[in-house]
Symmetry: C2
Subunit: 193 residues, 2 copies
Amino acid sequence: MSARAANRDQKERIRRKAAQLFARNGYHGTGVQALSEAVGLGRGALYHHIGSKETLLEEIVTPHIAAMIDLGEALLAQDLPATEKVRRLSRAQMRTLAEHLPEWTVFQRDATTLHGPVRARIFAARERFEAVWAAIVEEGVETGEFRRLDPVAIKGILGLHNYSYLWMRERGRLTPEEIADVFCDTILNGILS
Amino acid sequence: MSARAANRDQKERIRRKAAQLFARNGYHGTGVQALSEAVGLGRGALYHHIGSKETLLEEIVTPHIAAMIDLGEALLAQDLPATEKVRRLSRAQMRTLAEHLPEWTVFQRDATTLHGPVRARIFAARERFEAVWAAIVEEGVETGEFRRLDPVAIKGILGLHNYSYLWMRERGRLTPEEIADVFCDTILNGILS
């Protein structure tokens, strides 16, 4: 392994460990000392890799939300009914959330306690992802598949998905895709018989 | 004012201020020093009133969730169609959330970074509130008003409401009741035309 690859692996290991600690105890509840012990590096070596704790949080969160935005934007460009796009985005979102539960928890929960440029960048990414959902629903309204609802419905649909970081388990009763299907059944068809 | 009433007012003032600080900077991101300065009390006097920071968090959160559970259980006992109960619970939940936004933020977000008995009690309250939602939906299934969906739909409906602590504003474009009505329209009727 080259020195560069070893360095990259080391950073990845630190990010994963930090995400788990932040998810469990909160970003502010995780001291650099605890992080240092968890990854088996001294304070100096740790800071060499992470730069700052806030940069670490940003690096934990950004790749996953960026991947979701890319996936959503690729879906948008496809020639599919809006209903199918909703189903696929929902499945992808629940899969990502399940596979990166600590990272998604830090994204949804801990980024809201920051202030300054890191918070602004993370919130901007959240808004871009919300815009993908809004665009897919708007497409469905334009094709006549969906009714026009107040835009706050999009925030509700996002909440319905994202809030699952609170109860999602790695090996739950349902697969992430099965959860997504129940969610889509609820928001597409409603619960009225 | 009696000494007891003054004491109660003082505690209430500390709770409100602490909720705002916790909501803004996170529970773990709020030091006792910052809290002490915000309420204009020395450390000793502050601890005299709050007992511990964790007790303070519990006292911030508990009255609001208890009030929502009471309201939900009273609704359950009423002779109303399940659809109407869903609408009323949704409106009450969004109104409570809007009027106690810092407290609800601490409840939804910060309680998840605790461990031990306070966390257990707060999570038990959250489950009781979820059980109210589940019972109302079950009532609708039994009367034939609602389709039977997998129980995970309840978690989605909770998320759709609770996640709004992230974007709700005190004077937003819509009233809490109008937001609830859009949410109920989404989950009752679905977005398909």
